[in-house]
């Protein structure tokens, strides 16, 4: 019986090949343009707080270094520290002063503590606050925060908004 020899493709064992990187360069160019567009030169890094949908505004002023407060539908936070709970678009009665319902006790205590401990920081001395608040919250909630903050020596309050029309 004769054995038939299998056909083999003629290949060079030690050959090298060049990778076509044109398409990859194209992709990187598009990415570079997109990233350059969204590049920010702001001094302050603003991280959107989860659960807070900011209102849009035509204001184009960059935020400056300040104390960061955020109000969501559930809580009032200072950076990542929870200050007070919010239920049904209002603060709990236990967190408010009995005679003055605009006064948030835990917020005042925390701000007072901060102004004593972190007095060297310029923005604390100047009493600057950046407020991120949910757009659906009633003004009454914000008013309580503004009132308490100004009572605690933080009168310079700036409202954080999203860019848009």
């Amino acid at each position: 019986m004769s054995r038939r020899r299998r056909f083999e493709l003629p290949t060079k064992k030690n050959s090298t090949f060049t990778l076509n990187i044109t398409s990859m360069t194209d992709m990187f160019t598009i990415m570079l343009v997109f990233l350059l567009q969204s590049y920010t030169i702001s001094d302050v890094e603003m991280v959107p707080v989860s659960g807070v949908r900011l209102p849009t505004s035509s204001s184009m002023v960059n935020p400056t270094e300040s104390l960061k407060l955020s109000i969501s539908k559930d809580a009032l936070m200072m950076d990542k520290l929870k200050i007070a709970d919010i239920k049904d678009a209002d603060f709990l009665v236990s967190d408010l002063e009995e005679k003055d319902t605009n006064f948030i006790k835990p917020l005042f205590a925390e701000l007072e503590k901060l102004s004593k401990e972190g007095g060297e920081k310029k923005f604390i001395k100047e009493g600057k606050i950046l407020l991120q608040a949910d757009r659906d919250l009633p003004y009454g909630v914000l008013r309580k925060v503004m009132y308490t903050a100004s009572m605690a020596g933080f009168p310079q309050l700036k409202l954080v908004t999203m860019v848009g029309e």
Binding site: T18, I21, T22, M24, T25, F28, T29, M31, L32, L35, L36, S38, Y39, T40, S42, M46, P48, L54, P55, T56, S57, S58, S59, M60, V61, N62, P63, T64, D100, T101, N102, L130, Q132, A133, D134, R135, D136, L137, P138, Y139, G140, L142, R143, M146, Y147, S150, K158, L159, V160, T161, M162, V163
Partner: protein
């Protein structure tokens, strides 16, 4: 004599550009830009005023009986503009339109007010406790500057000694009911 050998140049030949160094640069740039990119742009409401406007605001504050413009926002009625000039109060109402605040009408009324009182830059805002924060920000947007770039207001520039034009209407906003109980 020996003849010089001619170098053969093939004018129709193709060559491949070496993209590897370019790619190497991009690979380094992309992570740097990824780290410093802001995919959600956030700004603050606090207008950086031109020098002329700032001077005009200071001048207004020095006036004994300045003209006061206040905007009251009542969630179930609409917006009320109150102008106090020489001790006389004048009220204008911007009623709700289909259950919502009527911002275009408010903007037109504010433009008319600014044209009548170009020296005023401050507006007092009094939203009631039920007004959503989003509506307050929208009202501030309407009051800050004219949307139409052709509409400009005169401001006296003391350095140049003549009137210059600005788009700003009422950039200085004060929440006057903040301390109320």
């Amino acid at each position: 004599m020996r003849r010089l050998r001619k170098i053969k140049i093939d004018h129709n030949s193709e060559f491949e550009l070496d993209l590897a160094p370019l790619l190497a640069v991009m690979v380094k740039l992309v992570p740097v830009l990824l780290v410093s990119s802001a995919f959600v742009q956030m700004m603050v409401i606090e207008t950086e005023l031109p020098q002329v406007v700032s001077e005009a605001i200071q001048k207004q504050e020095q006036t004994e009986k300045p003209t006061l413009i206040s905007l009251e926002m009542v969630s179930d009625q609409g917006m009320r503009l109150v102008v106090t000039k020489n001790g006389v109060e004048k009220e204008e109402m911007v009623p709700l339109k289909e259950g919502h605040f009527d911002y275009p009408t408010l903007h037109l009324k504010l433009i008319a007010l600014k044209q009548a009182n170009p020296e005023v830059f401050k507006i007092e805002i009094n939203p009631d406790a039920k007004v959503p924060y989003n509506d307050v920000v929208k009202a501030l947007d309407e009051a800050r500057q004219a949307h139409d770039k052709n509409i400009r207001f005169p401001v006296y520039d003391s350095k140049q000694g003549k009137n210059v034009e600005t788009q700003y209407m009422f950039p200085e906003v004060v929440f006057t009911n903040m301390m109320e109980g």
